[in-house]
Symmetry: D2
Subunit: 277 residues, 4 copies
């Protein structure tokens, strides 16, 4: 007997709450907490509940599917520590934040391994006894390198892949392989400053606020569903390196919060946007 997260989304129609709660009730389960939202633009219904009791997974799923409108989806997820693999390049602030939270049991996940195109962060990984895989891109095509990264990741079968300042562009092949499983931290307030060195871009534009964006990765660079964003004020006295330093604090916190939301199964992705309970 353990807790489950139930996620339902489907075209909206009258009576859904009643019918769903009736099934849950009739199977003798308790709703510890639930949230519901209707996207009125697309007439789409979202429901998430934490269930306790003796859950018969097959029965619950099939009962729910039988009453949902066509196009509906049911996910029933047993609550457990999820497995993650972290991809990094050279910057330590996001990885470090995750490792400290992992060390103190504040991250509700198992960090199975760290994968990088550079060696730099292996000493940091070693301190926390996390396997570190350096997959050198040297002399490899983008596809060959990515294939090696995929093989390395797949050995761990993670639930989530975290791009904690992984500074290489991913191909559609990679993204499709881990559809809906990849979370990236973008070092700007998307959709401003898409692409390389956003802090330099922000400095050149003379902005008074900089930000960071955590998002799921899809095929278009910096275009996936946004999970969380935050900002910090800057002024004319900030060089672009000062902006970068200020931005790194925001980056690590936004990434952390986004990962926590994903680990708790609080996020629905719908039409390139997120619904978050």
């Amino acid at each position: 007997m353990s807790d489950f997260v139930l996620k339902v989304n489907c075209p909206d129609r009258a009576g859904l709450i009643y019918e769903i709660s009736k099934i849950i009730f009739s199977l003798g389960l308790n709703i510890e907490k639930n949230s519901e939202f209707v996207n009125s633009e697309h007439k789409w219904f979202f429901f998430r509940a934490i269930l306790s009791g003796n859950v018969d997974e097959i029965r619950l799923e099939s009962d729910l599917k039988s009453i949902l409108p066509s196009g509906g989806e049911v996910e029933l997820i047993k609550r457990r520590k999820k497995d993650i693999v972290i991809l990094v390049t050279k910057e330590s602030h996001c990885l470090g934040d995750l490792l400290i939270r992992y060390f103190s049991n504040e991250l509700h996940a198992n960090i199975l391994s760290i994968v990088s195109n550079h060696k730099d962060l292996s000493t940091l990984a070693d301190k926390f006894e996390i396997p570190y895989h350096h997959v050198d891109a040297k002399d490899l095509s983008r596809e060959e390198h990515e294939q090696k990264i995929i093989e390395t990741i797949d050995n761990y079968s993670p639930d989530l892949i975290i791009l904690a300042k992984y500074m290489r562009i991913l191909t559609p092949l990679f993204v499709d392989h881990y559809k809906g499983q990849i979370i990236n931290i973008h070092h700007s307030f998307l959709p401003a400053f898409i692409g390389a060195n956003p802090y330099k871009q922000a400095y050149d534009r003379g902005v008074k606020i900089i930000g960071a964006t955590a998002h799921f990765v899809n095929n278009d660079l910096d275009e996936g569903p946004i999970i969380d964003q935050d900002v910090v004020s800057v002024n004319h006295d900030f060089s672009w390196k000062d902006m970068k330093r200020a931005g790194q604090n925001i980056e690590k916190i936004v990434l952390s919060r986004a990962i926590d939301l994903a680990l708790d199964d609080k996020i629905f992705v719908f039409k390139n946007k997120t619904v978050i309970f």
Copy 2:
């Protein structure tokens, strides 16, 4: 046929969502939107829904009450523009913000009148053709003055009374007379700087952030249930008057947001705190 807001709160137990939604469904009503929360500390259930359809108010209320645990409350509120009376003293920023929003139909309320212990803001009220009542406190005891204020307000039978920088302390008599109907804007980030001239207090303490708090008023000064708060950064270069000026922007916006939440019946008050959907 029109929209209703249904608010239910009661001791929590299994099956409440199911039973409530069953009643709504059986009466042929649609849930346009609903929210639910359980306070786990006190095991208390909160539910708010927007209902459309041909609502039989008496039937719906009695059916709901029949299934709720003892101590439960049902409110069924027909959606309409609410009536408000605004109390002010001399400062114009909060009143002005409400009047501009009223003028442009962005405030979902009727401003029936403005009541003040000073004459200063009558010219502003006149511009918007709102009756302005100057109730002079001169030569009156606190109780006598308040009694005259109450008589003035009661002529209008408002749903809500807004203290938009009304700088007199209210007696328990006044507060009890309008139980749960009074919203105040406090010019500080409660519970810091309770009492008089919080900007001077904040300046003297050398804080780096100042804030404002909108709250329902109860008998203890500055102690009622908090609805909304916000802050703005300051630094050593701010005199306390600069802090006040910066704070006024926050005050008017926090008060505005709090009023909107109350006008939409989105707030539950429970044990000196708020649950806001």
Copy 3:
């Protein structure tokens, strides 16, 4: 005898502070407050001081110019209420905020007139007895209409022109005519969502934060030097109209703060960015 703001900017070199303060001191003037900044990328020096004493304007300017490196600029501005003209279209929140602040003497400016391509806000202007000029664009080319706007504005010889939600694109002719005098509020966090209906764009992108930007206007749409920016959090439950409503609070405050900075002569514009003391 009255206060002056002295603004100096020039190529940086050693000893500037010493030489400038020596001249001020030798003319018997007091520096009530001063700020200084060097843009290290372009090696450019910025200095602003508030001077009191018996200021001989011609002497002070010529003495300062004599010691500044080639390319240097000196501005000596007598402190007074500046004159402004406000351009609007249909939305009242920014104009209303300025009028309320004007009414209560919190805006350190004279609002000489309001100019609009629509009639809608004339009743609001009338309440505050500000001349309102409706310059209808009907049957006019963009250039013809703009010429009439310019003629209307020029009758007032304002120091600053405030675009308080003026929803027409300005031609280079207009912008050049009022070089450095036009402040606009852009209803998004620039450079994100340039152009029309940024709230709809923000909604479609699924952002979690929306913002507003006040900037000087130059020839490129939405590309002028940024003065101030601020943001507010949103979530999946916000329609684009909800985003717009939340954004309007930010718009009016950001515009207000930017205008205050300009009225106090606190802003330097340098290479499409601002230095603000």
Copy 4:
């Protein structure tokens, strides 16, 4: 030849900038950057400059002192990595953040040692090869324990002592011994929620925003000069443990920023407040 930070504060009078810059100029030094502020309430002048050139420390200090009004102070600080000792109890988030920044050379300081009244964080210290001193309070009076802490710290002669969630109250003896050298992170938005378990206090009060405050420590608990503060929004759905978790992100960042300001000699303390350039 190396960079110095010059800090001057004294009663304000006319001509100070001129006389100070004249001395600097006459000794052949360059001002790379300078800031100046006058506290108008107390008529007190603050000046900070970064100097380059061949600095004759004794001469510069004596020349400056000779022209300053009585009560003035001159500090001339050679720029170098400062030495710090960190005191902790059991929570790892602030210490971890400092260690990660130390590891990646983003912290401009040498962490000489970590001192704690508990053993818990020794494994984290070991990972980064920082000496960890467990000074058990068992069977010791407050004074005896503190004396052992002082002896341990004094072996390292640190410039700064960081209380990174050190959960014991310090006696005046300790505070006097390290006058102006101790920075604490307080887990609330001071002056709200002084004392123990502020997150529980904040939860009980039903606040909508929580914060953190970094401050210098003086004799009164939670009363020292504030260096930095920041906040994060919460709502009714946050338990006090959720608030604590959200607050920890703010705590670590506020402490980090405050330490950076102190390491760069950017802070003046004056009458229990800070002036920060």
